[in-house]
Structure formats: structure tokens, C-alpha cells
């Protein structure tokens, strides 16, 4: 009996920049429907790992597997076409276009015009920003930009959503609300969240993979990770033993 392959997995993924090994033989696997947090202090290699998953970086060695299929070195648009919705750390939006046009275009690649309009309206409603539909994306406030990008990412109905630091620049209240939102998104999509905010991890309360110096330090449930002395050491800046 063979178990179905994980939705997304990396095998010994390594990314080197000259002499710096930003990601060092990382093997992580995400199951269908899972909600996973990748955390680690600044410089732990999370964002580099994220960019290897999204195709923005071509890993030096190792493999990226999508449902068991080798997709290493795919361009970002081919990764997206697999059914991955990607949210970047600094919201990437079509600044000169109305918010709704960007969300429609997100759905338009897979659906007809009428269906795209419906999906876009539904996504804006779901994120509570229907009133911003006609506003040019460039005029939104920071928190609104984050939500607009989330709407863009979920509109086409991806199987997996990857979020890079979705709470960057948010206050405590907004962070808590975003955590709730991400758990809500998880009802329909597998979600990978790259974060370094511990409060956020606590609010999400699912499996956590901790990065440190380009490697996986611990992988466990949120409450165990949060009480793990090694993780505390890493976050407080002491050398991990």
C-alpha cells in the first residue's frame, strides 16, 4: 500500500548564494488541506525557501515535488498554473487598476468572463473589501492592500495558498484578525504561512516548522514549539546548542 504523495514536498532543497547557504538540505512536506506555519527569526532562510517554492529562485540542488511530480526549477507562472496561489511579503498589486480588475484577471485565466466576475465579487466579499472594488489598488492603505492581495490569490480557487509574512506591518488586533482569516481560508485551501511573529503562530495553532540558519530546527504542534527551549534560544538570539 502506498500513501498518496503529499500536495507539496521538498527533498534536500538547497539554495546557495556564493558562499552563503541560505537553505540547507530542507525536506518538508505539506499534506492536502493542511495549514502549516514556517517560522524562524530574520535570516533563517524562510523567504529564500519561499522563493524556491514559488519558482522565483531556482534551487542549487534538491527537488520540489507537487503531488509527487518533480517541478523543480519551474518558472513562477508554471508553479501558479499547478494550482498554487502566492502572496508576497510586500503586496504585489496592479496599482493603476481598480482592485476588482486585478481579482477578475486572477480568475480569468481559468474561467470565462462572467464566471470571473462572479468569483471576483465573491472573493472581495469573503475578505470584506467589496466596498473597495472600484478603488485603484495603488490608493489602498497597507492593511487593505494585504486583503486585496489575498482576494486576488484565492479568487481562482487554488489548491494551495502560500503566504509570505501576511501580518508584516500589522498591529496586534489586525494580526489576530488575519490569523482568523487564514484559518477560514484553510477550509477550502491548503495553506502555508511563512511568518516570524510568535503571536500569530499562537493564534493559528497548527503544525509549525521552525527554520534556523537555513535548516529545519524543529517541526511540531504550535504549543510544543512555543515552549521548546531551542526555539526560545533561537528567537532570543542565543546560539542553539
Amino acid at each position: 500500500m502506498t500513501a498518496p504523495p503529499p500536495l507539496l514536498a521538498t527533498e534536500e532543497l538547497t539554495m546557495r548564494f556564493g558562499g552563503v547557504v541560505a537553505v540547507d538540505r530542507v525536506s518538508v512536506s505539506i499534506a492536502e488541506g493542511e495549514l502549516r506555519c514556517l517560522i524562524g527569526p530574520n535570516g533563517a532562510g524562510k523567504s529564500t525557501f519561499f522563493r524556491c517554492l514559488t519558482g522565483q529562485y531556482r534551487p542549487t540542488s534538491g527537488r520540489v515535488l507537487w503531488r509527487g511530480r518533480d517541478v523543480t526549477g519551474f518558472d513562477p507562472f508554471r508553479m501558479a498554473r499547478l494550482g498554487i496561489g502566492i502572496k508576497t511579503q510586500v503586496p504585489a498589486l496592479f496599482d493603476g487598476l481598480p482592485v476588482v480588475e486585478g481579482v477578475r484577471l486572477a480568475a480569468r485565466r481559468l474561467h470565462g468572463e462572467r464566471e470571473s466576475r462572479r468569483l471576483a465579487d465573491a472573493a472581495l466579499d469573503r475578505l470584506g473589501i467589496a466596498h473597495l472594488a472600484d478603488r485603484p489598488a495603488g490608493l489602498l492603505a497597507h492593511g487593505q492592500r494585504q486583503l486585496a492581495e489575498l482576494a486576488t490569490v484565492v479568487a481562482p480557487g487554488p489548491d494551495l495558498v502560500i503566504l509570505d509574512e501576511p501580518t508584516a506591518g500589522m498591529g496586534a488586533e489586525e494580526t489576530a484578525r488575519t490569523a482568523g482569516l487564514i484559518r477560514e481560508l484553510n477550509r477550502d485551501h491548503a495553506v502555508v504561512v511563512v511568518e516570524h511573529d510568535m503571536q500569530f503562530i499562537r493564534a493559528i495553532a497548527r503544525t509549525v516548522t521552525v527554520f534556523h540558519q537555513g535548516r529545519v530546527l524543529v517541526q511540531d504542534s504550535a504549543d510544543r514549539v512555543l515552549t521548546d527551549p531551542r526555539v526560545r534560544d533561537v528567537y532570543l538570539g542565543r546560539a542553539a546548542a
Binding site: 507562472f77 496592479f94 496599482d95 493603476g96 484577471l105 478603488r135 485603484p136 486576488t152
Partner: protein
């Protein structure tokens, strides 16, 4: 108003303007002035071709004249060999389109950065300029057509009715044809922007990464936009060849620079602006050329400096913003080419 409604309105207005031009001008203008007007229409089409590549696709092509010149030369060479100008038009369009597709493929699939794209396109047009200049002498001929070096091809054949090589178009008819081409291309690019391809092209200009992360192949879309722009520039070259004749000047730095100036002054992101700026600046430099001891390029440079400093977004977008502001109850989106918010 919806995007489609706005486009219909703009195309309707352009149709009225084109109809007025073809009914009034051929009777009202003397022959020399009419030929000049045809040159301006050809140049306006060249401006439109860059306005599309740059404004809709975000591709700053500094060498739009490469395709303009190639279209003109291909028309002249094919026309001389076929003895039929009408048959030469599709050949010219094919040459310009293929050249744009090949150059675009190298740039976009080679992931060349934006700044280098400007450098590469300008370099290509200047290489063509050098090459065309060096084709003096009997050995430089394609079939029956001598390339003529510095002098170009003065015996560029005139357009004729399809299937009737001996029935050449009169200058009035060439003018009407040029206006129809200009209007047709304007309507076409407006309609392209309503398709998924056009909307994605605009989105790529706004944020390349986001478009790519949505699963759109940025390279293919940019190649499409660039090739359409090249084809239009080629058609402009055919029209130009019919009023003047083809010569290496078509590839020159002066021409390449002028196209960029027209689009900058008229407003990147609009189509009508660059076309209007093209005609206005041509009229202005033509007039300045008659002032003894004055270099019209000085005037052109002055206008560019003034535009960059005083109206950095270009004339049309600035005029649109002013209109929006002057309205008693400003709407969030007026009838602009692109949705634009008033300053809040």
C-alpha cells in the same frame, strides 16, 4: 461607464474625425500640403505603434523606427520586383512583424531588463541605419531593386489598386488610405485592450511579478504586444514610402528619438495623446524649419524639456485630470483612457 463603453465612445469620435479628414482635406489642401498631411498620418501611426508597446505593454522600445524602416524598405523592394505595389504591402507587413517577433523573442525570452531593452532596440535601428547607408553600389540589390545606399530607393513604386498594377492611387487616394489605416489601427488597439490578452498586458505593465504569480506567461504577452507594435510601425513605413521614398533616414537617430518624444509629450498610457502630439510637433518643426538660421531640433528639444518638467505625465493625462477636477461633482472614474483617480 464600462471599459467597453468608453472604448466605443473613443472609436466613434476617432471615426468622426477620420471621416471629416477624408472628406474635407483632399479638396481643401494643395497637393504639396496633402502629401505632407499623408506623411503626418504615417508618423501618427508610428507614434501609435510605440504608444501601444510602451503605454499598454510597458515596453520602452527606442527603436520603433527599425520596424518602420524595414516595412518601408520591404515595400519598396517587393514593389519593384513584383511591379505591383498592392502585392508588396503584405510582404512589408510580414517583414516588419517577423523582425519584431524575432527581436522581441530574443529580449523577452532572454529576460533582458527594461533599460537594456531600450539600448538594444536603439542599437538595432542604428545598425540598420549604418547598413542601409553602406549599400551604395551595383552589388547591393535584391532582385531588380537596388538598395541605393545613402540615397535610398527613389524609384519606390506607388500603391495601386489590387490586381491593377497600372492603376496607381492618386495622392488624394493615398491620403484616404493612410487615414483609414491610422483609424483602423487605433480602433484595433482599443479593442485589443478589451480582450483578455490586452487586459493582462496592461496588468503586466502595472506589476509583472503579480501577473506571473497569477499564472500568466509574461514573456509571451510582452512578445505579443511588441510584435503588434512592430507590425503597425511597418505599416507606417509603407505609408511613408508612398509619400516620400525610402532612405536610411527612416532608421536614423533623429527619427528614433522623435517617436519617443511624441509619446512622452502626448502622454504614455494614452493613444490619442501621442498621435496628436506627433501631428502638432511635426507642424511646429515644419514651421520652425522655414525660419532662416534656426534649427528645428532646438525647438523639439525645448518642447521635450518643457513637457518633462511642466507636464511629466504628458499632455492628454494632464488635460484629463484637469477636466475631472473642474467637474462640479468629481466622479471617481471619468472617461479617461485608463482609470485614474483624481488627487485626493
Amino acid at each position: 461607464m464600462t471599459a467597453a463603453g468608453r472604448a466605443a465612445l473613443h472609436i466613434g469620435a476617432a471615426a468622426a474625425l477620420a471621416a471629416a479628414a477624408v472628406t474635407v482635406l483632399p479638396g481643401a489642401l494643395e497637393l504639396f500640403a496633402l502629401i505632407n498631411a499623408t506623411v503626418w498620418a504615417a508618423m501618427a501611426l508610428l507614434a501609435l505603434s510605440l504608444a501601444f508597446a510602451w503605454g499598454a505593454g510597458g515596453i520602452l522600445c527606442f527603436g520603433q523606427t527599425a520596424f518602420f524602416g524595414l516595412g518601408g524598405y520591404a515595400y519598396a523592394v517587393a514593389g519593384i520586383n513584383f511591379g505591383d505595389g498592392a502585392l508588396a504591402v503584405p510582404v512589408a507587413l510580414a517583414v516588419a512583424t517577423l523582425a519584431a517577433a524575432a527581436l522581441g523573442w530574443l529580449m523577452f525570452y532572454g529576460r533582458v531588463g527594461d533599460v537594456y531593452m531600450g539600448v538594444i532596440t536603439l542599437t538595432v535601428t542604428l545598425i540598420l541605419f549604418k547598413f542601409a547607408n553602406s549599400t551604395a553600389g551595383e552589388q547591393w540589390r535584391i532582385g531588380a531593386a537596388p538598395l541605393g545606399g545613402f540615397n535610398g530607393i527613389p524609384q519606390t513604386p506607388p500603391l495601386n489598386w489590387p490586381g491593377e498594377p497600372d492603376n496607381a492611387l492618386t495622392p488624394e487616394q493615398v491620403f484616404v488610405f493612410a487615414v483609414l489605416c491610422l483609424f483602423g489601427c487605433y480602433a484595433a488597439v482599443k479593442l485589443v485592450l478589451l480582450t483578455r490578452f490586452g487586459r493582462v498586458a496592461v496588468a503586466i505593465k502595472e506589476n509583472e511579478l503579480r501577473a506571473e504569480l497569477l499564472g500568466y506567461d509574461v514573456r509571451a504577452h510582452r512578445l505579443g504586444v511588441f510584435t503588434i507594435g512592430g507590425a503597425m510601425a511597418g505599416l507606417a513605413g509603407v505609408l511613408f514610402a508612398n509619400c516620400v521614398f525610402v532612405s536610411p533616414t527612416m532608421f536614423s537617430l533623429a527619427y528614433a528619438g522623435q517617436v519617443v518624444i511624441w509619446v512622452l509629450v502626448g502622454g504614455v498610457g494614452t493613444f490619442a495623446g501621442p498621435m496628436a502630439a506627433c501631428v502638432a510637433l511635426q507642424a511646429l518643426t515644419a514651421w520652425a524649419g522655414t525660419v532662416p538660421g534656426f534649427d528645428p531640433n532646438l525647438l523639439l528639444g525645448g518642447v521635450l524639456l518643457l513637457a518633462v518638467v511642466a507636464v511629466p505625465r504628458g499632455l492628454l493625462p494632464t488635460a484629463q485630470s484637469l477636466l475631472v477636477r473642474l467637474r462640479p461633482r468629481p466622479r471617481r472614474r471619468g472617461a479617461e483612457e485608463r482609470p485614474m483617480a483624481p488627487a485626493e
